[in-house]
């Protein structure tokens, strides 16, 4: 593979071994460090990005699996940090250290694309990301705020 599409732009990945997880392609080869490493084994959600609009864990998604797909990372979630999820995260002062929050927002925004009125148990189900600082309650509240905005649009 010679190129991948990230946030609507083509990036050269020439010479990058095809089994390299997308996470490290983004971070180390393309210099896009917004996407975070947390576990490398699909247990924490820190590395979540969108592939053709669906959330995937980039730590277990090989470059070869990306193919022609469109990858969206936090750098492309919105132009100016005003995705409803980003706004709601700010309104609820969600982040503590902030490290997990990129993955949390990518997971939440993918969920809200499909379901703009998630129940508590649906949120529990979809949001399996780990936050070691313990921001879950605010994430839940922020998701509801973002969902309201998205429904009313």
């Amino acid at each position: 593979m010679n190129t991948i599409t990230v946030n609507g732009r083509q990036h050269s990945v020439e010479g990058v071994p095809e089994d390299t997880p997308l996470l490290w392609v983004l971070r180390d080869h393309l210099g896009m460090t917004g996407t975070k490493y947390g576990c490398g084994v699909s247990e924490c959600g820190a590395c979540t990005v969108h592939l053709d609009g669906e959330s995937v864990q980039s730590c277990v998604t090989a470059l070869s699996e990306v193919g022609e797909g469109n990858v969206t990372t936090i750098e492309g979630l919105s132009e100016d940090g005003t995705h409803p999820v980003q706004k709601a995260w700010k309104e609820h002062n969600v982040p503590q250290c902030g490290y997990c929050q990129v993955g949390q927002m990518m997971m939440a925004s993918a969920m809200l694309k499909k379901n703009q009125n998630p129940s508590d148990s649906e949120i529990d189900e979809e949001m399996w990301n780990i936050c070691r600082c313990g921001t879950y309650n605010r994430i839940r509240a922020a998701i509801k705020t973002a969902a309201t905005e998205m429904r009313n649009k």
């Binding site: 971070r27 975070k36 902030g98 490290y99 189900e125």
Partner: protein, 759 residues
């Protein structure tokens, strides 16, 4: 308000005030101590009244943040204190992250100390600048300085209402002598405008857009990415290594051995073999391909299950008394009834969301002598990095330049800079910048673990059900073994976290310690020995309440006794080095948070919940702050525990950033939930059996508390700790609730080892 990244600031810049940004500080030590001179870059005219603050002629106020941001909001909160006292407009403040430099004072962002240590110092910094600006304006106008007041980035002449902006005073203010701190008039609390008020943290927008730079994100030109194979057992070393296959992995550039610590582990590397590559992934693949023959060293027979049994045997025997009041032995014999219990808390790993990471650029001359070293690290303590890297490279500690990135949490792990030393010695060897990333497996397997402990408590109770004697024996490997391999029993600072500082009003008390050797690196983890000691003490209090047939809350209040202050001197308690005038051990405050948490949780009304539901209560003083917890649980017929509600009341004295404090209180409940439910690292043959989040589980949204109700008590007492203060009483409150719901008393953590089907 805006921020600049520390990585753009070098030490030379710091000294000369010539940074690419606008850091304009210069300080030099004189016999009179630290004095400040107004060194100013030619392009920027600035006024530098204090190490922590400088003002430019355009009115920009630079404030130095010298503590590390790991999620507490400290990078915002301390500068807010300066800005408040300075009467600066927050929108015109630029926060500068300091490099490691001991002239700034303690930078070890650990021990819940930041606000306590620096609240006054920050006020002095702000007041110094404001006072000098007021004086400058007074001279300009030919009026008395007492008629001039700094207000919202201007000095106002109160009689004539004339005004002049701070920036316009800079040139003249520079000529003034810096007033002595004792002569300053600090603002009264009634005039505070930022202290106690919330504002989004400085890094909010960067965090939300993925621009925030953590240690793992920090990059230096031409850097290599390294991961290390470390000895599987602490104290092991490399016998031989075959790197052929590793070097054949595409992207791998070099394989380099690094030596193990000498003597005690301290903060020096565990040693091992580094694989350096053009990406983290290539390095990880290279490490997989390494063939290393290890000498496992002296800890290869460490078996934590067997060790736990030994600890049990230790606490069944008399130990070394560390606190003695009355005659426990006779009182135990004479008591109407006695009760005893043993508690166990296993090893835990910090597992901060961002693993330990650092990048170093070390330059050498033709003889191989190190000429410079710059490190960008997610560190809680840049001065500890200097102290560890200096000797490792044979350079002066103060010449090691340490830029502090944001930290993807720390919890105590990142105050130990072994990973920074790894990056530095690798960069020296490879003559290139090297970025070291710990994988999650490295992080969990090779941590500075929370200790493993057994605690025996025994009490005699009188006719009224209250104890007449309390005997407590604690045994666990000590943190001091990190520095002294012979340290073999709990240290006094450890005992003082929930054992020797027992607050209950009991006539006969004896606290004893028992020996315990260390076989892994023991470190401090958020709230440290409070974790096990308050688990035991607060659980046992509830056991006694049950024994007495009393209401747990009412019993706890009776146990705490009259409002009074503990006699810290007589009890030989260090009070974390804090003065007992500012920080007495105030039982009244401890009772107050307990009373209040009972109120807001509706304790009285909910006392008689049906089977399968229950409330638990616990309280403690930790890191000089006071916490009361009530936890509500629901236990399904299958024994599944859920936590619908947690109530927490915190009295931490003056609070600078209430919402950030609240967030930490919420986070503490969730971290403690993880530890209570699942937290356990076990060792077989010296090797940790858990190495990622599949085996070292964390509470997620679905199994964390659904609602966490936090109340911060208004107080004008001196600011106490926050970050660690509300961890300790959560787990016992949770287990007390489980008892209320199921009749099952949990004395050994974690919970997932138990069948919790209601009896």
């Amino acid at each position: 308000m805006s921020t600049t990244e520390s990585s753009s600031v070098s030490r030379r810049d710091f000294l000369a005030g010539l940074s690419a940004g606008s850091l304009v500080l210069m300080a030099k030590a004189s016999s009179a101590g630290l004095t400040v001179t107004g060194a100013t870059p030619e392009t920027v005219e600035s006024f530098d009244p204090d190490l922590f603050v400088s003002i430019e002629s355009d009115g920009t106020v630079n404030i130095v943040a010298h503590r590390s941001e790991m999620g507490t909001g400290i990078r915002t909160s301390l500068p807010r204190v300066v800005a408040d006292e300075l009467e600066a407009d927050w929108d015109r403040v630029v926060i500068q992250q300091a490099i490691g430099d001991k002239r700034l004072g303690d930078q070890n962002t650990d021990g819940s100390n930041s606000i306590r240590f620096f609240f006054k110092r920050m006020r002095v910094a702000g007041a110094t600048a404001r006072t000098m600006l007021e004086q400058t304006a007074a001279e300009k106008w030919g009026v008395s300085a007492s008629e001039c007041r700094g207000r919202n980035h201007e000095v106002v002449h109160t009689k004539s209402n004339r005004k002049i902006g701070y920036g316009d005073l800079v040139a003249d203010a520079r000529e003034l002598d810096v007033p002595k701190p004792g002569t300053l008039k600090l603002k009264p609390a009634s005039e505070w405008k930022y202290i106690g008020k919330d504002v989004p943290v400085a890094d909010m927008d960067d965090i939300l857009t993925g621009k925030a730079v953590y240690g793992i994100d920090s990059r230096m030109e031409n850097q290599l990415f390294a991961v290390l194979a470390r000895p599987p057992v602490v104290g092991g070393s490399v016998k031989s290594v075959n790197a052929d296959k590793a070097l054949a992995v595409p992207g791998v550039v070099a394989v380099e051995q690094i030596p193990r610590f000498k003597g005690a582990p301290s903060f020096q590397p565990l040693g091992g073999v580094a694989v350096c590559a053009n990406s983290t992934w290539a390095a990880i693949q290279g490490r997989e391909a390494l063939e290393v023959d290890w000498d496992l060293g002296p800890n290869a027979d460490y078996d934590s299950e067997k060790f736990a049994e030994q600890l049990g045997a230790t606490v069944s025997q008399p130990g070394t008394p560390v606190r003695k009041q009355g005659d426990v032995g006779s009182a135990l014999k004479a008591g109407a009834r006695t009760h005893s219990a043993d508690y166990f808390v296993p090893h835990l790993s910090h597992a901060p969301m961002e693993t330990p990471c650092a990048v170093a650029d070390v330059k050498t001359d033709s003889t191989g002598k190190v000429t410079s070293c710059v490190i960008n690290a997610a560190t809680q303590n840049p001065q500890a990095v200097q102290q560890a890297v200096g000797p490792a490279l044979g350079m002066k500690n103060e010449d090691v330049i340490v830029n502090v990135t944001l930290l993807g949490a720390g919890f105590g792990r990142k105050s130990k800079p072994d990973y920074c030393v790894e990056a530095a010695v690798l960069s020296r060897a490879l003559k290139r910048p090297v970025h070291v990333t710990w994988t999650r497996e490295d992080d969990i397997r090779h941590d500075y673990f929370h200790t493993i402990s057994r605690i025996h408590v025994e009490a005699a109770v009188g006719e009224d059900g209250l104890p007449t004697a309390w005997l407590q024996r604690v045994s666990y490997p000590t943190i001091m073994s990190l520095f002294n391999p012979r340290a073999g029993s709990p240290a006094s600072f450890e005992q003082e976290m929930g054992a020797s500082d027992l607050p209950y009003d009991i006539p006969n008390v004896q606290i004893e310690t028992g020996p315990a050797a260390s076989h892994v690196r023991i470190g401090w983890l958020r709230s440290v020995c409070h974790i096990q000691q308050n688990f035991a003490v607060c659980s046992f209090a509830d056991e006694l309440a049950v024994l007495a047939g009393a209401d747990s809350y009412q019993y706890l209040m009776n146990l705490l006794g009259d409002d009074r202050e503990l006699d810290m001197k007589a009890l030989k308690l260090s009070n974390r080095g804090a003065s007992t005038d500012d920080y007495p051990y105030d039982i009244g405050r401890l009772k107050n948070v307990t009373r209040r948490v009972a109120e807001i949780s509706g304790w009285k009304e909910k006392r008689d919940l049906p089977k399968g539901r229950g409330l638990g209560i616990a309280c403690c003083r930790a890191f000089l702050g006071y916490t009361g917890h009530v936890v509500e649980v629901e236990v399904s017929p299958e024994g599944e525990v859920s936590i619908p509600n947690v109530w927490v009341v915190l009295d931490a004295g003056v609070i600078v950033s209430p919402d950030r404090v609240k967030a930490q209180v919420e986070g503490a409940a969730i971290m403690a939930t993880s530890q209570a439910r699942y937290g356990e690292i076990t060792f077989t043959n010296g090797v940790a059996n858990q190495d990622n989040f599949d085996t070292y589980r964390m509470a997620k949204m679905a199994d964390a508390p659904l609602n966490i109700h936090v109340e911060l008590l208004k107080s004008d007492a001196a600011p106490a700790g926050v970050g660690e203060t509300t961890v300790p009483s959560f787990a016992p409150a949770l287990c007390n609730a489980i008892y209320a719901a199921t009749g099952k008393r949990i004395r050994n953590l974690p919970l997932n080892r138990h069948d919790l089907t209601p009896e």
